[in-house]
Structure formats: C-alpha cells, structure tokens
Amino acid sequence: MIEVRDLHMHFGGFRAVDGASLTIEKGTITGLIGPNGAGKTSLFNCIAGVLTPTSGHVFFDGEEITGMKPHNLFHKGILRTFQIAHEFHSMTCRENLMMVPAGQHGETLWNTWFGRKRIADEERALRAKADEVLEFLTIEHISDLKAGEVSGGQKKLLELGRTMMVDAKMVFLDEVGAGVNRTLLYTIGDAIKRLNVERGYTFCMIEHDMDFIKQLCDPVIVMAQGSVMATGTADEIMSNEQVIEAYLGTGVKNKKKESAS
C-alpha cells in the first residue's frame, strides 16, 4: 500500500533518515520501533507531507506521493496523529471531529451566505457521525467539553476519532500510547484493533511499549540510524540479536531466558 524507496531526509549535515526503504501492506498494523533519534518521526513527516524529503520516493497504491502537501494527502485518505496530541483547543470535542471532513459545502465564502439549507443538512449528518465516533471510542461524555480541557489520553482518543470521520485508508500513529495510563491504553489498543478488523484501516504506528506492539502489530519494522534494520513478526524481532543490541537492550534477552527456564 505504502512503499518507501531509498528515502533520505537531511537537516544540514545531519542525516535523520538515511536511505530507508520499506513497505506497508494493506490491512496490516505495522509497528515501527527503534531507539530515539533513529529517524522514525522524520520518516513519518516525510510520508505525511510535513517535510519534503531530500531524496527518494514514496508511493501510495503505486502512485508517487513524494513531497505532496498534507491537505492533499488527506484527500487521498492518508492521515496521521501526533506524538503530542494536537487539538483545536477553543472548540468542543464534537466540533473538533466535525472539522475534519474536508470539502464541506459550507467551505466556500459564497455558500456560507447563500447555501444555508444545504449546510444545515450537512452539519446535521456530521453531528450524528461525530456522536457515533465518540460513542465508538467510549468518550461520549466529553463531547461538549472544550478540547483544550480534556486529559492527554482523551486527546489521543480524539485524534483517533478524527481519522474515523472520513474513510481513511492509511493512518500513521505517532506514539499513540505515550503518556497514557494502562486502562486508556487498552481502550486505544482495542479501538485500533477494531478499526483494523471492522473497517479495514491500515495502520503504521511508532511505539516504544513492546507489550503493546506485541499485542497489536504484525509485522514490526526496526529502524536505527536512519535506515531499516530488520523486519519481522514481534517475536522474531524480540529474538533478533542485532535488534536487542541496538535497541531493546539485554533486559529483554534475560527476560526471555527466564521465561524459557
């Protein structure tokens, strides 16, 4: 679905992404792990159009999307969430969700003044959809709160909800579990799984929590020093000597041994 070919992203002399190549298959939940500074977020930014890569190519269903602007990628169904949850803080959670579908009728200046009826119908449909999404994520109780005032974990769920307002095909999640408590993490994981199974979303997620990865992701891609180091199932990765050396540390190995003995 997404193919990245020999991607480079250099900031001055610093090579954040240095010749990364990977594929994300349709219908998978692909995990992307690696030590800090491995270039995971830069890679995300390159794919999602926030950064224009120095060189290399990104393909989406065979079509080249390298260097496309974020709002254009959005129309293709490629969405992302942020490591630190972003929200429109002065609007309510419901309004936040209702912002999402682009190309709404009320978006042109002309229709704002002269197409009131159609806009009203559209808004009603959106509102119903937003409520449905909030219910799906089990956060309907915050729908009328200002998005700037809800907890960090709820903002993360809201980010996930944003992708559900349109028919997203490919969603990039940047550390969706960071700074979220266990219970909420479970809710988020559950929502991701259900979206994947029930609605056919393809996910690619950066994550540090190996248990979370193991629960959700297959395959897992390991990045180090700007390029891909290994690819495989979570179990394969966790027993890969090279990966343990570079990222997981010997703790995992010992734990493995303990559980084996």
Binding site: A48, H71, H86, E87, F88, M91, E95, M99, E107, T112
Partner: protein
C-alpha cells in the same frame, strides 16, 4: 453643586466621543488580531490598509456627490463603503500574492514578517500620498447632528448642552452590525470555523484537509473589510488624513494586545479600554468639577491629567503595563 449638569458635561465630552472612538479602535484591532491569529504576525501595514480603503470610499463618495446620489440624512460614504472594501481587498490580496506568500513558503520567522509588513506599510503609504496627497479632507455629509447642544438645552432647561453627532451614532451602529456579523461568521459557519481551527493549531488544520491558502485568502478579505469599515468610520467622525492612520497603529495594537492577541472578543474590549483611558486622562475636568463644587467656586487650573498632545503616551503606557503584568492580555490570547 449641580450633579445633573456635571453628568451631562461628562457624557458630552467623555462618554460619547470615547464610545465612538472605542468602536473604531475595536474594529481596527479585530483586523490586527485576526492577522495575528491566523497568519501569525503583527501586520504593521494595517493602518495603511485602513487609509487605502477609506481613500477609495472618499473618492467614490465624491463621485456620488457629483452625480447627485445621496442617502438623505445619512452620509453618502455608506453607499461607497462596498467599493472601498473591494479595493482594499484587491490591494491586500495583491500584496499577499506578491509579498507575503513567498515568506510563508520559506516559513519565515514572525519577526521577519513584521519587518516585511513594515516595508509594505511604507509602500502603501507612498502610493496613498501619490494618489490623494497629504491634505486633510472631510467627507461627511448629510445631517450633522442627531441632538444639537442648543436643542438639548431648550428641552431640558439645563445650562450644559449635549450634542450627539450622526457619525458617532453611525459608528456605534455600524460597529455593532460588523461585530455581530463577524462573530456569527467565526462561530457558526464552516469557513469561520476553519479559520479558528487554523488559528488554534496550524499543523492539525493542515492534516485535517483544510486548505491553508483558502483560509489565508478569506482572512485577508475579512481583514480588508474590517480595515475599511474602521477607517471610514474614523474618517467620518474626524477627518481623512493619510498620516493619521499610521499614528492610529499604536492605539490599535495596544487594543489588540490589551485584549489578548488572537482573541476577537479581547480586541473589542481592548478598543474600549484604550479609548476610555485616553479620553478620560486627557480631558480637562474643569467644567465638571465646577458643577460639582460649591456654588461660585471654580478650580484655577484645567484639572487635566495629561495634555492632549500626550494622548498616544496613554496607549503606550497601558501597553507596557499589560506586557509586564499580563502578557497574554485580558482574554488570554497568545503571549507575544
């Protein structure tokens, strides 16, 4: 002691003019605050945008007067207002395309954009002078007063008169309509919400499929309309002089900052705070104090806190106090 006369004098010389001036500042500050919230820089060319819009209104008004078109008791300038807005919109969209767009693309720092807008200000200023010169012009016509001082005295039998000019009432009415429309637009329409979303969080707005160029364009259109309305109201109330609009920049920025940059509600509150402080501090209270004091006594001096020459110092002082003690302003805008 004559409380009623004192009140009338105070209303006549402080409350009425300050309300009108406050409304003008508020609409001016709304433009500044919108640019700051959405395009993320302080637009120094705002005063010139106001002057340009007003100039076109003035020229079209002249044309209408020649053709004998008028609004009866209301100033003809109201009819010319749409033309001024259209011209100001064309001007700002042109500058955006030729100047600001480049700096947005290279993601220039806000400070750089401020300097750029200063350059734009000088350019616009030059263009204005070339077209209309630097003279003082009056273009208010129609009925001059709603209540005349003499009539008021006759009706009430008070020795102090109250005069309310058409332009003052007009300023407040037009300001109310403008503000109501703007808030309806920002809060209720999809386009306005996109603008607020873009102001809240640019990255997210982009990733939610909001087209940034369209948001920027609509912002400029709204700002051009606000600037022209503010400039015209000010020009009607006082007179049109290109240079004055550049000086107005200080109280306008002070209003926007006092209210909290990026907050439309704050801009309105800020406008009135600045206007009332400026006029109260520079008003000579001699008359009011004379009425309030014992019979036959009057103060020797003017009982004026500051000479009117220092009226801009008031905005400046308030600006500094706010920046020192509450940098986000009254309504929690973005800190500068």
């Amino acid at each position: 002691m004559d409380f009623l006369n004192a009140l009338v004098a105070f209303t006549n010389f402080v409350i009425v003019p300050a309300s009108a001036y406050g409304a003008q500042l508020a609409i001016g500050a709304l433009g500044v605050t919108l640019i700051y919230g959405i395009l993320r820089f302080s637009n120094f060319a705002h005063g010139e945008t106001m002057a340009f819009g007003t100039m076109v209104v003035l020229l079209v008004t002249g044309l209408f007067q020649q053709w004998g078109i008028s609004l009866g008791p209301l100033p003809t300038a109201l009819l010319a207002l749409p033309f001024g807005i259209a011209a100001a919109a064309a001007l700002v969209l042109f500058t955006d395309k030729t100047v600001y767009k480049f700096y947005r693309r290279v993601k220039a720092a806000p400070v750089m954009l401020v300097i750029v807008s200063m350059g734009v200000m000088f350019m616009m200023n030059g263009i204005l002078r070339m077209i209309i010169g630097t003279d003082d012009r009056r273009f208010a016509d129609g009925e001059r007063f709603i209540i005349r001082a003499r009539d008021f005295k006759e009706w009430t039998g008070l020795s102090e008169g109250l005069a309310i000019r058409t332009t003052q009432v007009l300023t407040i009415v037009v300001a109310l309509i403008t503000v109501a429309l703007l808030f309806w637009f920002l809060n209720k329409t999809r386009t306005g919400k996109s603008m607020r979303a873009y102001s809240d969080n640019e990255d997210l707005a982009l990733l939610s499929g909001i087209n940034p160029e369209r948001v920027v364009m609509i912002t400029w259109l709204v700002v051009a309309a606000l600037a022209t309305v503010a400039g015209t109201l000010y020009g009607l109330d006082k007179s049109f002089k290109p240079f004055v609009y550049m000086q107005l920049l200080l109280p306008i920025f002070a209003s926007a900052i006092v209210g909290g940059l990026g907050s439309p509600l704050g801009a309105i509150a800020g406008g009135f705070v600045i206007a009332f402080s400026e006029i109260t501090l520079t008003y000579a209270f001699k008359k009011v104090v004379t009425y309030l004091g014992p019979d036959g006594w009057s103060p020797d001096g003017l009982v004026q806190l500051l000479s009117t020459d220092y009226k801009f110092a008031v905005s400046f002082a308030i600006l500094i106090i706010v920046l020192l003690f509450k940098p986000t302003g009254l309504f929690k805008g973005k800190s500068v």
